[in-house]
Symmetry: C2
Subunit: 222 residues, 2 copies
């Protein structure tokens, strides 16, 4: 094909054309693909959930503000890393953005180098998050194949109980537990107890911490 799909996409959302234009030029100079939008609605329409990327988002915009878009994305389960950009924002907005998971908050004017560094960082975060979610989704789809009874048995097994114990607790025969266990291992595509436990643990983290999203950082570095 002629127009090849980029491996990552930077979205720029700002109501001012001049800002979109200069940001686009800056980022495109590094060879990365950019898509610009003048409003939150346009972005939601043009967002490609299948491509890793990050979002450069203006805080103040007519209509849906940047912070409102952030909340909207959270509610929709869209977890693209957001770098806020603002000319004159206050501490409360900044704090709110960060507490809602923003990767960074840059005040204009900022250095080109800093922005590009943050963009790179954000994309790396998104890629890592996507990989993690991909693995979790695969496990979830396997878990969906299990029957209710198999779920019960699996919980016991992962909890460290032997077939005999499971049989006693559930009030069924040893053979029945073995049969369930066998189909569990097959459906989960686990060749070991170890693998099964790893899968359940990974999927369990998904359920326990739905929004840990970003932040594989250690320190400030800014």
């Amino acid at each position: 094909m002629i127009t090849k799909k980029p491996d990552s996409l930077i979205y720029v959302v700002d109501d001012e054309f001049a800002v979109r234009d200069s940001l686009s030029l800056l980022i495109e100079s590094t060879g990365q693909a950019v898509r610009s939008f003048a409003s939150a609605e346009e972005f939601l329409d043009g967002y490609d959930p299948d491509c890793p990327g990050c979002l450069l988002l203006d805080v103040r915009m007519p209509g849906v503000s940047g912070l409102e878009l952030q909340e909207l994305l959270l509610n929709r389960g869209i977890s693209i890393p957001i770098i806020f950009i603002s000319g004159h924002a206050g501490i409360p907005d900044t704090a709110k953005a960060f507490r809602a998971g923003a990767v960074d908050f840059l005040e204009k004017p900022f250095s080109d180098g800093l922005l590009l560094k943050r963009v790179e960082e954000a994309i790396a975060i998104d890629i890592a998050n996507r990989e993690q979610r991909e693995g979790q989704d695969k496990i979830q789809s396997r878990l969906a194949l299990l029957t209710a009874r198999e779920h019960e048995v699996m919980a016991q097994i992962v909890g460290g109980h032997s077939n005999k114990e499971v049989a006693r607790v559930m009030g069924i025969s040893n053979r029945t537990v073995e049969a369930h266990r066998s189909s569990i291992m097959e459906k989960m595509q686990a060749s070991n107890l170890a693998e099964l436990i790893m899968m359940v643990t990974q999927a369990g983290i998904l359920e326990a911490k739905p929004n840990s999203g970003h932040y594989p950082f250690s320190g400030g570095g800014g």
Copy 2:
């Protein structure tokens, strides 16, 4: 005893007496214990690592600033949740604070209710972090009991390999592997393969993400 030890401690660090005083009074009115310090150095001296709590920290102070203290605490591995308080701070400082793991950043004047809410939140975070670290420390101390050979064997076992496979890969006898396995289970105080795997997984997370620290949040809520 007469002076009972509080279950949590709020540290207030600000160079202005008036600020320390009003914050202390506000927090003490909820029945929580407070310790005030006029400088970063004083705080470092009076900090009790064994008691859960949080830190209300002024950004600008003569000598070591709030942000510098935050970095200092990070470097020393002290992970007390920090709520920054500032009269006139900029976005860059706010962003830096959050990126370094701050729980919140409040601009004066702020409502008493908001502060108290954040303090409660921060303490909950610290307690959760401490519980997690406690568990990990316990596992680490057990791992330290293992010999080098036992570590190798454990890695294989947790990786899902049977004793026979481990024996073949390591070039030793089946019986030797069994002996190692037995002492591993004993030293790790695991009664199951499942428990052993859980422990190693938990400890492994510790090594992989040393600074995920705070942030069990979902959204802004402020």
